[in-house]
Symmetry: C2
Subunit: 524 residues, 2 copies
């Protein structure tokens, strides 16, 4: 399969006539062929019309068919073979091993949602049978299930060109929820996007899905992405990217005649708390694991540990020395795009030049758009009054905040915005202090983790990849794990409908064997 530069409007490969995009080889900066045609208003209109037309048909397909389609996408992605990895490596600069792992994760996500479809709990079925004898009034028969919200717009992320992009978590969960998807491809990996998009379209064809269940648009500017969110046929948005980008989409969605939910994952610095006993006992191994997490994938993870909080003293100094030492040995790594590289350099330079910030270490210099790691330190007093020290620096830079004691550490934590993760390094002797901090940690983050780092997000049932604003726009949800399907569903109640008219999951005999909450309890 060769990259052609065509979008996918349903089953049609379409050359967009509204400007052109080119991918850029991350390692060399060289412009890659072919060109990609950007979507214009006509293509946007056609994709939305197809998605709208497909919605009712798609969502009413039996769950086993929806599951087979989702599994088919996984299969087709694997069948792209090495070409996908090659193209993706070229476009993103991410190492092949990482991309192979990410492909496994992407395929695993799709398979997880096929399982979720098989199990059926996501439907949230509830049945309250009629009570004709109830006094003073008989009780009606009520049955509830969840259905898809409608067509979903998905914005591919730059930093996970497979797992958070065209067939990533947002697409997988929306399709599983019964929602057609229109993806706005990320301009940094259009070739990867085209390949994966064709794998999805092929699965739709193979499994006889309605044409509009999936479209893929290239955008030579911002108007197509914005137009997608504004289109009345779009009923929800999934986005992973910058805070400014997410906020812009939130504003468009809120200003619509019919406002819609936006699930934007935007910004986090993912504090790491070093508790005194843990630091005393394990300063060096923690520092080593920290540097590994900080520099993983050139630090280009939403869960990158950008802030370290510890009580000042000899143990923290040991940590700082060990981390600085380790960072000096990590080679610079190619970043995803020239823009991300520039932003990283600017962010790191602001910290390096800051009067109240000390530069503890920098990694070896690199070439081209290779980022070197950077470790800084400041005082809690400075951190509390300098808002520029709390900005996310996307890449392998982190800031240690030296706190006079645990009370100050708690004040610093209290002053932070919402986060995806907070990691706590603790030993048994630290447990009482962590217990006291826990309510604050829960309020500040979607995931609280012990003796580890937030990078490496398990795709399971109990994962929360989300968190209070501005980590995400909607803390009530997760974008990773099986619970992500809930973002694209809404409940509908059916009162006194003849069973013959009801979908099978609401039948009392429960032919699909889905979990049914009966009068508020799961039977058995």
């Amino acid at each position: 399969m060769t990259v052609t530069g065509h979008m996918l409007i349903g089953q049609s490969a379409v050359w967009g006539s509204h400007g052109r995009l080119h991918a850029v080889a991350a390692a060399s900066g060289e412009r890659l062929q072919p060109a990609f045609g950007g979507a214009g208003a006509a293509e946007l209109e056609r994709a939305c019309a197809l998605a709208e037309a497909a919605f009712d048909e798609y969502r009413q397909r039996p769950l086993v068919q929806r599951a087979a389609f989702v599994l088919g996408i996984a299969e087709n992605i694997l069948q792209l073979g090495d070409e996908l990895i090659e193209r993706c490596h070229l476009e993103t600069g991410l190492p092949r091993a990482r991309l192979e792992g990410e492909r496994g994760r992407t395929v695993g996500q799709l398979r997880l949602f096929a399982e979720v479809l098989g199990e059926g709990g996501f439907l949230g079925v509830r049945i309250d049978p009629a009570q004709p004898q109830r006094l003073p009034m008989p009780r009606v028969d009520l049955r509830l299930r969840q259905i898809g919200l409608g067509p979903v717009a998905v914005f591919g992320a730059s930093n996970f060109p497979l797992a958070f992009s065209v067939a990533g978590g947002d697409t997988a969960s929306a399709l599983a929820a019964g929602c057609p998807v229109i993806v706005k491809a990320h301009s940094a990996h259009p070739g990867t996007s085209e390949l994966v998009g064709r794998a999805i379209a092929r699965a739709a064809r193979q499994h006889g899905m309605p044409e509009g269940v999936f479209s893929l648009l290239f955008d030579s500017g911002r108007s197509i992405g914005q137009g997608l969110v504004a289109d009345p046929r779009i009923k929800a948005v999934g986005f992973t990217g910058s805070r400014s980008g997410g906020m812009a989409l939130m504003q468009i969605a809120a200003a619509r005649a019919e406002p819609i939910p936006v699930y934007a994952e935007m910004s986090a610095i993912n504090p790491v708390l070093l508790l005194p006993h843990a630091l005393e006992e394990r300063a060096e191994p923690i520092a080593s694991a920290f540097v590994a997490s900080l520099t993983l994938g050139a630090g280009q993870f939403c869960t990158n540990p950008g802030l370290i909080l510890g009580v000042d003293g000899p143990a923290l100094q040991r940590f700082e020395r060990a981390a600085a030492e380790a960072l000096g040995h990590v080679a610079a790594q190619t970043m995803l795009t020239p823009g991300i590289y520039r932003s990283y350099c600017q962010g790191a330079a602001i910290l390096a030049a800051h009067a109240r910030v000390q530069t503890l270490a920098q990694g070896p210099e690199g070439q081209g758009q290779q980022a070197r790691g950077a470790l800084f330190a400041t005082s809690a007093a400075a951190f509390m009054v300098c808002p520029e020290l709390r900005e996310e620096v996307f890449g392998p830079a982190s800031l240690i905040v030296r706190c006079a004691d645990m009370t100050v550490l708690q004040q610093v934590l209290q002053s932070l915005e919402g986060q995806l993760t907070i990691a706590v390094h603790l030993s048994e002797g630290d447990q009482p202090q962590v217990q006291a901090l826990l309510p604050l940690l829960e309020r500040k983050a979607g995931r609280v983790l012990a003796n580890g780092f937030g990078t490496g997000v398990e795709v399971t049932h109990a994962m929360v990849h989300g968190g209070p604003f501005p980590a995400t726009s909607d803390s009530r949800s997760t974008s990773v794990g099986s619970r992500a399907i809930q973002r694209f569903l809404r409940p509908v109640a059916y009162q006194d409908l003849p069973e013959a008219l009801l979908p099978a999951e609401l039948h009392r005999a429960n032919p699909l064997q889905v979990p049914q909450l009966l009068d508020g309890r799961f039977p058995g």
Copy 2:
């Protein structure tokens, strides 16, 4: 207990110094004593500070304590006895029997949430145990539960002075979710609000809850309500009222530095579909039940049937005649407020004067602010081009749209905005047509019901009182029934935390016996 005109800031009865409000006797238009002091910025600040201070303590109380508190509120409301009914009747003009029923509903809601707290499924517990042997990487231990969003602002509704007001569904579900509540009392029933507010505050005291778990503010204008939604300590909003009111709050919430969810129930005309066989067989009994639903409580229900769709012909004419005849016998009823009465008269007058609308019947004239029922008819052609015919007329008025055939009826339905309910009257011979319509009905409404009317909303597990915009601001939720608690929760994941630090509901031994999803399945 005597109404004093004082707000409740936590446990303190406070006389507000920012303007005054008076209740008005609905029947006579007479100003009632005492005056109520309106909240100023200082009272708002104090209520928010208390709520914020109470949040962590309140949400960490054992669920049995939270349940006892909620039950205590129900008990204390009952103990207010006849004084509550009397005052409420005076302020709202609603008949005593209705108010006694509504009190039962209010108390029943609180008891339902106590049960929900006992059962524990609302916590959404999920456990994915560690897999230390997994290759290539061990799997971490992940546990998820839901916690409260934070302090919630609740706006009392005019039309349910008990069940959707100070201790109504929003307050009950937010308190059950572990969120402190600040109620902005509706200005139409301040005395009722004070009495119920004191019942809540007393329960908080009796059950040793932190002071800020509940406050009640009077607002002599709009600034306190708006300030409440804008306050950074408020994390969610519950509102039932007008579309303009709900939209204003949505805009304030979206413009905050940290946007928050608003659950606004705003506007619906609740279409009723009369299928041909049903109409042929039962035109008269359906008409009679329709008029009863239309005029119930002076038509002041969110689920009032404001729009009838039927295929034009002799059977629809029979329905129209029977409904017109029945409406002529329903006495005018006192509306809640002078403002609501004026709006109703204006809305009905616009329909009556409309060139393309026929007035089929009006009920007998009333006195003071008593509304007479009104029934209008128009053609589908007119309805499709005249947006003024789709406005909700809050009160006992309804519009019949005569459709040439089922295709036209479907087009009319398709053109409607989101609704709380759609009712379908069908006989066995209509089932194929309803089957074909069902996908559209699901997309347009939160509740689809057969052979009944939307008024009379059961408070159960499978109820959805919600629906697509503008019926509500957030179709992913319900404001009635046990599922309403989900509006005020967010998930938090705990990774590798020592079990000693985890809340009891996440312990593997499951001491609280809450439903725990283990690796994606409920065991047993």
